[in-house]
């Protein structure tokens, strides 16, 4: 049996459905955003790990080589000369079929038996006719591949059908010989397996392997040491799990930032919950007063309010989880796209719903409700029974608390600054400081609103008369309602300012950087693989081309992660394209061309704490060697792992003569479009290349940049949605709270139109105060995002640029949002019945 006191309160909630609905909606959106981001991140990460696990199979370790992998003779030597049996050679790369990007895994079918379950069907392990036939086809038929049912469906290819595969800009014939077993093909979407010889031919890697997979029994240190002792100097043995983890961690900062954005929506929702609960307490002051007078203790009052909030939180969180799953499915594409653009290939189409994500959402919803309800619950419990019936006492109480609250806010800001200063390079601490800044700011806003309205009210009175003054002074006089709504909108708007200024500054910096970096007039390259050497020579001879630069992007793997080497052969005009940050260019470049030195990208320098004069250790063909850092150069490389090396140095230390792309410097009188057309005609039928002018490359780069921030946009628009609901809720609360006052105004002769205008003016001022209050916090947020968060997450140095348009539009937006949210309350106020004024309270 529910105690009657709970029924009395429940009945109150049911009689105020809009208030209840808005509370539920606010919490639900906050929870939905958290659950969605968590699920999207988790699904992308899981899909990647699943795919890596499937591809790794039973292998515990992998022998990794240099930029061009390892000699395939090493595999034979290990197996025959050293008697190491649990090995499987792999050639790995990327191909496309009808513009669908696929990972190709070239395997030795004889060595696969105990390594990967999904290739087993094509091996001799299963000794039946169908398997033998498939095995034979895979070995004998040129271009024979296997893939999952889902991939075959996506490509529209049936078993036995021939199709074209494109690799390194060249087309090859392929045959779909068979499909993976349905029960072992999880995580294998967009993957094709083929015989190792096919993969070597397609990826232009004759005689080379990407890696050798090794299976070492748990704790068999002797076996591992034996293997390590016979490996050549340019190879290394890495644990497969560690390699997967290192790759997955590359996107950690990106995912942490998304999680922080999702928490912002909940934070704004928190204000909304506080608003709703404190309002419902305020509304029930008579009921609470009666209950207290009848003998309900303070503890019971406190428990009553908290229980009710927990109930609301639970219902809202449940709805939020459901909405979150749906939203997560929508966000998944955006998250996966960004990860694909910048980190690693991940193929994920379905959200994987984890109990942990749902638990987090429910805990966040209920926890936030309880946290937000604590203050109103304490307040309700603290009133004397007699006082609980007097509204002005409540407002006086909150007015008295204002300076204390503002001081607490100032203190929180100071603590946030200390956390920023003392937390080193911790991204999580940086984000925690951002939230503390927001909280501190939020606590200061009510006092600012009180002072602002006191200042504004006389001017409003002079301009519009006493009703205008009433509209403005009411805001300050009802801070328990309006203050929190203003804070909610201000926080949401400040987030838009902060993120917009950051993105805008970032975009400008990247734009400038691209402008400087792309010194060549035309760039030609192959998506993955090597450019044809003859083609490069033909391009260099093309009329209008004065000089060319070449570039090779190579990856080196160690236990600590992956390092990207950009091996550049500079053209005379190339040097200016690289901005040297901490040394004199005239000293750097001669040494760069001549000595064993590297330039480190700014993110690499930040992440690894290296600078000019330091050494970096790289695994070359002769083993580990030290390269001196000549300087740091500006780069917005997301992987924070790039080193710049001259081609001559690269050639001295690495067995790799490949070229990925070239820059073509044209004569002054050459027409870029004409040259591009000529280059395309030269390459036609020989190799499919991407040939673009520097202008086009810049455009494409900025398109990718903008795509990356789409998810940020989505998240902060959701936060604004919550704030909008906050304003609507607060204005409706105010209107209900002031029903009697509004009725008196109507009885005194104020027309519905005048009353509506008064409420509209009130909401406009609320929007204006929110917008103006948001500017300082927005700018501080932008500064922290640029100087602290981006730096700690990605190592970028961005010049902060504040476009006045962002600030103006934020204020206009805040006013517009508040006005829109105030329309219905204004209409409701206009409908107020003057007869209400005659009734005794």
């Amino acid at each position: 049996m529910i105690p009657v006191v709970y029924r009395a309160n429940f009945s109150y909630l049911v009689r105020h459905p809009w208030q209840l609905s808005l509370s539920l909606l606010g919490i639900s959106i906050g929870v939905a955003v958290i659950v969605a981001v968590d699920l999207a991140n988790d699904s992308a990460r899981k899909a990647f790990l699943l795919s890596m696990d499937a591809v790794t199979g039973e292998a515990t370790h992998q022998v990794i080589g240099g930029p061009r992998g390892i000699e395939e003779t090493l595999y034979t030597r290990l197996r025959v000369e050293h008697g190491i049996r649990s090995l499987a050679p792999v050639v790995e790369g990327n191909v496309t079929v009808d513009d669908v990007s696929l990972q190709v895994l070239g395997v030795d079918l004889f060595a696969e038996q105990e390594m990967r379950s999904f290739t087993r069907r094509s091996t001799v392990a299963e000794n039946d006719d169908a398997t033998r036939s498939l095995f034979r086809t895979m070995l004998v038929e040129p271009g024979a591949v296997m893939m999952s049912v889902a991939t075959a469906d996506t490509l529209g290819i049936a078993v036995g059908e021939r199709f074209d595969i494109s690799a390194a800009g060249r087309r090859h014939g392929a045959l779909l010989a068979g499909l993976f077993d349905a029960d072992s093909s999880q995580g294998l979407d967009n993957l094709v397996t083929t015989d190792i010889a096919n993969a070597q031919a397609w990826l232009d890697a004759p005689g080379r392997l990407s890696r050798i997979d090794v299976r070492i029994a748990d704790g068999d240190i002797a076996y591992r040491e034996k293997l390590e002792s016979v490996l050549p100097a340019d190879t290394t043995l890495l644990a497969a799990a560690g390699r997967t983890r290192t790759t997955a961690e590359m996107s950690k900062a990106f995912m942490t930032n998304l999680t922080a954005m999702s928490l912002l929506a909940l934070l704004v929702g928190l204000f909304l919950i506080y608003n709703s609960v404190s309002f419902s307490v305020l509304q029930r002051r008579r009921l609470i007063g009666i209950l207290r007078a009848l003998g309900m203790t303070r503890r019971q009052t406190f428990t009553l309010i908290l229980t009710e909030s927990a109930g609301i939180g639970l219902v809202a969180a449940t709805a939020g989880v459901v909405a979150g799953v749906w939203l997560g499915e929508q966000l998944l594409g955006l998250v996966a796209q960004s990860i694909n653009d910048f980190y690693f290939r991940v193929s994920v189409t379905d959200i994987s719903i984890s109990t942990a994500s749902i638990g987090k959402g429910v805990a966040a919803g209920v926890g936030a409700s309880l946290f937000a309800a604590a203050v109103p619950a304490i307040e309700a419990a603290s009133y004397q029974p007699r006082l609980a019936m007097v509204r002005s006492v409540l407002e006086q109480h909150s007015r008295r608390l204002l300076p204390v609250v503002a001081l607490t806010g100032a203190g929180t800001i100071v603590v946030a600054v200390c956390v920023l200063a003392l937390s080193g390079r911790s991204l999580v601490a940086g984000l925690a400081a951002v939230f503390m800044l927001i909280l501190g700011f939020a606590l200061c806003v009510p006092l600012v609103v009180k002072m602002s309205t006191a200042l504004l009210a006389p001017f409003a009175g002079l301009a519009g008369g006493v009703w205008a003054r009433l509209a403005v002074s009411e805001i300050g006089a009802s801070l328990s309602r309006t203050g929190v709504a203003i804070v909610a909108l201000a926080v949401a708007v400040s987030a838009t300012i902060g993120v917009s200024v950051m993105v805008d500054s970032f975009r400008l910096s990247v734009g400038d950087w691209l402008q400087q970096t792309l010194q060549a007039d035309v760039y030609a390259g192959v998506r993955r693989g090597d450019m044809d050497r003859d083609l490069i020579a033909d391009f260099a001879r093309t009329p209008g081309v004065e000089a060319i630069s070449t570039s090779r992007r190579a990856w080196l793997e160690t236990r600590d992660g992956r390092t990207q080497i950009l091996a550049i052969r500079m053209a005379p005009g190339s040097y200016a394209g690289t901005e040297v940050l901490d040394a004199e260019p005239e000293d750097v470049w001669p040494s760069f061309d001549r000595d064993d030195v590297v330039l480190v990208s700014e993110p690499y320098a930040y992440r690894n704490g290296v600078g000019p004069g330091d050494d970096v250790r790289l695994r070359t063909r002769t083993g580990d060697e030290l390269f001196r850092v000549a300087a740091t150069y500006q780069s917005y490389d997301l992987n924070a792992s790039a080193l710049l090396m001259s081609r001559a140095t690269y050639d001295r230390h690495f067995d790799d003569d490949g070229i990925d792309s070239i820059g073509l410097y044209l004569a002054d009188d050459a027409d870029v479009d004409d040259v591009i057309a000529e280059l395309e005609s030269i390459s036609a039928g020989r190799q499919d290349l991407l040939i673009n002018s520097n202008v086009r490359i810049r455009e494409l780069s900025l398109e990718i940049f903008d795509r990356t921030f789409v998810i940020t946009d989505v998240l902060y628009w959701l936060a604004i949605g919550v704030a909008f609901i906050g304003i609507l809720s607060a204005m409706l609360a105010l209107q209900l709270e002031r029903a009697r006052d509004l009725a008196v105004l109507r009885a005194l002769g104020m027309t519905p139109g005048q009353l509506g205008r008064m409420i509209t003016l009130q909401t406009s001022v609320i929007g204006l105060l929110s917008g103006i209050s948001a500017i300082p916090l927005g700018l501080v947020m932008a500064y922290v995002l640029i100087e602290v968060i981006n730096r700690r997450a990605f190592g970028w140095q961005i010049d902060m640029a504040i476009a006045p348009g962002i600030l103006v539009s934020a204020v206009v937006f805040a006013v517009a949002a508040a006005l829109l949210a105030g329309l219905y309350p204004a209409w409701r106020a206009a409908q107020s019945q003057p007869a209400l004024a005659m009734r005794e309270e």
């Binding site: 002005s392 006086q396 008369g465 006493v466 009703w467 003054r469 009433l470 002074s473 009411e474 006089a477 009802s478 009697r740 006052d741 008196v744 105004l745 109507r746 009885a747 005194l748 002769g749 104020m750 027309t751 519905p752 005048q754 019945q833 003057p834 007869a835 004024a837 005659m838 009734r839 005794e840 309270e841």
Partner: protein, 236 residues
């Protein structure tokens, strides 16, 4: 604007029903009465007898289901909601039991609000407020907010506000209901004096014999009908 023969308010067969759940409750049942200009009349009756409803109908706050309300020669039952509001603004003053001052406006601004709504020229507003506050004995409280005033003081501000625009009719609903005896006596004397000075008509809804004793006549309202003869001075 005044009806011939000095009749300020005329109620003709006035009926008003309210729905309570599924059942209709007739609060006023074909009530007729006339009130002369300058007259003060107490409407007495028990709780729920229809006193406040009657004042609401006279003030144009509510509209009857049937019958007519003619105030200062105007049949307000024929007016639109907006015109009733404008009529009320111009011709009616209200004094409530709960004072109903706007808590976020000062004493002076509470009075100013009504004057501005009536578009009284700005130069005339300040002297008028000063005069009214002096009349109610609150000259020194013009900048105070209502919540720092006593109940008696708040009601005196409400009276000043109600009379600020020189309404033809003052409607008072239990004006001393929230006051102690001494404050009630002060407020009644003030109300009586000021209304008589202004020459307005006052209807007071009350169940107090003491309040009724200040009026020229008393009408008893019982079950939606007048039980004493409207128009006859009543013995107090």
């Amino acid at each position: 604007m005044t009806t011939p023969g000095g009749v300020e308010i005329s109620l003709q067969n006035l009926s008003r029903e309210f729905t309570e759940g599924t059942r209709q409750h007739r609060v006023l049942d074909r009530v007729s009465a006339e009130f002369r200009r300058g007259e003060t009349v107490a409407i007495r009756g028990r709780s729920g007898s229809g006193k406040s409803t009657l004042l609401n109908l006279v003030g144009g706050i509510d509209a009857p289901d049937d019958g007519q309300v003619i105030v200062a020669g105007i049949d307000i039952t024929q007016l639109s909601e907006r015109d009733r509001t404008l009529f009320r603004r111009r011709h009616i003053g209200f004094v409530y039991q709960a004072f109903n001052l706007v808590p976020t406006l000062t004493v002076a601004d509470n009075i100013r609000l009504v004057l501005e709504l009536n578009e009284v020229p700005a130069p005339q507003i300040a002297p008028r407020i000063e005069m009214l506050l002096e009349a109610v004995g609150l000259s020194d409280r013009d900048g105070s907010y209502p919540d720092v005033l006593s109940g008696g003081e708040q009601q005196r501000v409400a009276i000043a506000r109600a009379l600020s625009h020189r309404p033809a009719v003052l409607l008072a609903d239990e004006p001393t209901g929230n006051l102690d005896d001494a404050s009630a006596e002060d407020v009644l004397r003030l109300l009586d004096t000021l209304v008589r000075q202004a020459g307005g008509t006052m209807l007071v809804a009350t169940h107090s014999a003491r309040v009724a004793s200040f009026c020229d006549r008393v009408l008893e309202l019982h079950n939606g009908k007048f039980t004493s003869t409207p128009g006859e001075p009543a013995a107090t």
